[in-house]
């Protein structure tokens, strides 16, 4: 009994990863701690992200039609495998809740001052649940439309902000100490690029496993260059003030002023973040319910959508006491927290699989 009957193409995977990565930077700005050198941190972070991607795409190429849950069972055996799978599912669930809480905080702080967070989260969750219920193919097709909208909005914002940019704000290059720069670039590597590790739940439903790394790398580089544009633009428009703002992209777009007619365009940023968070949370949510279903050998993941969705909303509402705590975890705590999940589990699994001679040769040839 197959849990997922849909298949997606490599191009759809590329778009899905792009949407997934932009889900992070439509909300917050990774690498912001490096000040005007944030763009350097992003370039370095992207390189490290590609190394992480190489590890987990290699793992998925060894087991082309299996998700990480099935791989774990195969490699570590029934009990140890399931324990590791639970850890991985927890990571998906946790990241999803973090994204939701950043999202709800952003909307709460900037636009819906009096709307309860629960309402914002429930509205988002209902759409995500409905998407996940329809399977991976619908999610992939949806993300194509949304990513095109998002790219258009980002390009439009950037074009309208060109007159406000000052190249001097990016100088001098490499102003911060190297160890701090590396630390920030590592944080960029884990969030958003390393998070693509959650696609280990999705790779099993993608055609042409041989092109996996090139697809993932292309998606990361494309999304990374958009991130680079946004970050450099924010620094150039805002200068040092980009450091103080909680949501610099939102603040930067405030500056758009086309002859006193086209002003107050900042709601565009909110639209962009809503649609990109939809893609990101849907992928994470899909991974979580699919993982739980495979963990318990269920026939369908659909009955899990409602309970896990509710748990996710509750967790998103309660995991952070305030915005300072939230950013402290996302920018500092997550840097170390993510390492075992993004690098540890795939790398060790890969090594153990090789030592145990898995998968057996006859299976690969078939």
């Amino acid at each position: 009994m197959l849990l997922e009957k849909g298949r997606i193409s490599n191009f759809q995977l590329l778009i899905l990863i792009m949407g997934f990565v932009s889900g992070t930077f439509s909300l917050m700005t990774p690498g912001q701690d490096a000040g005007h050198d944030a763009w350097v941190a992003i370039v370095l972070g992207l390189m490290e992200g590609l190394c992480i991607a190489w590890i987990f795409t290699n793992l998925s190429r060894k087991f082309p039609d299996k998700t990480i849950i099935e791989i774990n069972t195969l490699v570590y055996g029934r009990y140890l495998g399931k324990c590791i799978s639970i850890l991985f599912i927890w990571y998906l669930f946790h990241i999803s809740a973090i994204v939701l809480s950043i999202f709800s905080t952003f909307l709460n702080v900037e636009i819906y001052h009096f709307t309860p967070k629960a309402v914002i989260l429930l509205c988002m969750m209902l759409v995500c649940a409905s998407t996940v219920n329809r399977g991976i193919e619908v999610l992939a097709r949806l993300s194509l439309i949304l990513v095109i909208i998002s790219i258009t909005l980002i390009c439009l914002e950037t074009l309208l902000l060109i007159t406000h940019m000052d190249l001097k704000n990016l100088l001098p290059v490499m102003d911060i100490p190297v160890n701090k720069l590396l630390w920030v670039s590592h944080s960029v590597a884990t969030n958003p690029f390393g998070e693509v590790v959650v696609f280990l739940m999705v790779f099993a439903f993608v055609d042409h496993p041989k092109k996996r790394f090139s697809t993932v790398a292309l998606a990361m580089i494309t999304a990374g260059s958009f991130l680079l544009i946004i970050i450099a633009r924010n620094s150039m428009v805002l200068g040092q003030a980009a450091l103080t703002s909680n949501f610099p992209t939102y603040l930067a777009v405030h500056m758009i002023d086309l002859g006193d007619i086209l002003t107050r365009a900042e709601v565009v940023v909110a639209i962009d973040s809503i649609i990109m968070v939809l893609v990101k949370v849907s992928v994470l949510f899909y991974g979580t319910v699919m993982g739980v279903a495979q963990l318990f050998d269920l026939h369908s993941y659909r009955p899990l959508i409602l309970p896990i969705g509710i748990l996710m909303v509750i967790f998103a509402m309660t995991n952070f006491g305030n915005m300072i705590e939230m950013f402290a975890f996302v920018n500092k705590g997550h840097v170390l927290y993510a390492v075992p999940f993004q690098i540890g589990i795939p790398l060790i699994t890969l090594i153990v699989a090789r030592l145990r001679g898995l998968p057996p040769k006859w299976e690969v040839e078939n």
Binding site: H113, K168, D175, L243, T244, M255
Partner: protein, 386 residues
């Protein structure tokens, strides 16, 4: 099958009904329940130390018919309140208002002289933290009280704060004073070396269109800050000198003996040079101008234009040196020379940065001006008998 169809219909009806209740429940802003703020003034009472906030709010149904004129029909009202902190004051103002205060349309923040002397950081923090405030609002200093400036009138615009903002932006085009936005002010405040600046406004009496005396706000200088406290003021000439250096000259006139010249384009570059551990700043300026008026009563020749160009560059040099002298006197790096050194000499800057304030007034500034008169207008001969 039929069951499914019925469920779908019920679902749609349910959604349609919900749609009536959901929109804008919590965050609705109704125009008739808002007090739209056009300008905010911040003062500190020197005797009691209390905060005083003055705001000018727009009365929407009066804006459309300015012909009403006379007494009674004002498009704005000016409200004053006092309190212990900025937000205490604002909350007191809100308690006495029948409408909710709405900030996103504020055009200008004005800080009174006393608050600028005591430090405006409490206000700056309050503004920056408020999610409704925008980074491109103008910042200005009042020569006495901010309340006086917001109480002045504007004969062309029935919302005075908008008139005032347009006036500051227009006068920035004549390149005597600079319009400073909140974002620029904050960036200078956050910079480790550059001193914040903001235009200073004063109130003058003028004869209005109806023959009565009216109060109008005018720029009188550029205030120079150290951190968040005002320490001095640049006059018109020094302010022009500042604008030459920071590349903010857009248009305007240069008055030299015998001629008035209109600035067409102006470019400037700050080039720091490091020789034997000593900083020298080279300011290179390139100006192209147009002869607007010539009082020499003779036909123009190339040598006359050369002479005018020379006078023009001397004038510019004089203005810049006046600004430099004033900034040395105030020990305030208004030009951003420190940032320029930082950009070019990253390593040396680490040593210079802590003592920059004292070191600043000892640096050597060399000004090089390249001027060219491109156009002479419609006539090249004098319109008078020789």
């Amino acid at each position: 099958m039929r069951n499914g169809k019925r469920r779908k219909t019920y679902g749609l009806i349910f959604l349609a009904v919900m749609l009536m209740f959901l929109p804008g429940c919590w965050d609705s802003h109704e125009l008739n329940k808002l007090s739209i703020i056009a300008g905010l003034g911040f003062d500190i009472d020197p005797e009691t130390g209390e905060n005083k906030i003055t705001y000018q709010s727009i009365i929407p149904n009066q804006v459309k018919n300015p012909s009403g004129g006379g007494e009674g029909a004002h498009a704005i009202k000016v409200v004053q309140n006092t309190g212990s902190t900025p937000y205490d004051t604002l909350s007191r103002a809100m308690q006495h208002s029948s409408h909710n205060l709405f900030y996103p349309h504020a055009q200008i923040y004005i800080f009174g002289k006393e608050s600028a002397l005591q430090g405006i950081y409490p206000f700056i923090d309050g503004i920056a933290r408020n999610v409704q405030s925008r980074p491109n609002v103008l910042v200005a200093i009042a020569d006495k009280e901010a309340a006086d400036i917001l109480g002045a009138q504007d004969e062309d615009e029935n919302i005075q704060a908008i008139g005032l903002t347009n006036y500051i932006k227009l006068s920035a085009r004549f390149s005597n004073y600079q319009a400073v936005t909140f974002l620029e002010f904050c960036n200078r405040l956050m910079s480790k070396s550059t001193a914040p600046i903001a235009p200073v406004l004063g109130v003058f009496e003028e004869i209005g269109p109806d023959g009565k005396k009216m109060k109008k706000a005018r720029i009188t200088g550029m205030g120079v800050f150290k951190d968040d406290k005002i320490i001095g003021e640049l006059n018109e000439m020094e302010s022009r000198g500042l604008l030459w250096v920071i590349d903010r000259i857009k248009s305007g006139y240069i008055i030299v003996p015998d001629a008035s010249l209109q600035i067409l384009t102006a470019k400037s570059k700050i080039i720091p040079e490091l020789e034997d551990g000593k900083i020298q700043i080279r300011v290179e300026i390139e100006v192209q101008s147009k002869l607007a008026q010539y009082m020499g009563k003779q036909d123009l020749t190339p040598s006359i234009l050369k002479e005018l160009e020379k006078r023009q560059s001397e004038k510019i040099k004089k203005e810049i040196m006046a600004a430099v002298q004033k900034s040395f006197f105030l020990h305030a790096d208004i030009f951003g020379f420190g940032e320029a050194v930082h950009r070019s000499y990253k390593k040396e800057w680490q040593e210079l940065e802590p003592g920059w304030e004292d070191y600043y007034s000892e640096i050597k500034v060399v000004v090089k001006v390249k001027t060219h008169i491109n156009e002479v207008g419609d006539i090249s001969k004098a319109v008078i008998k020789h």
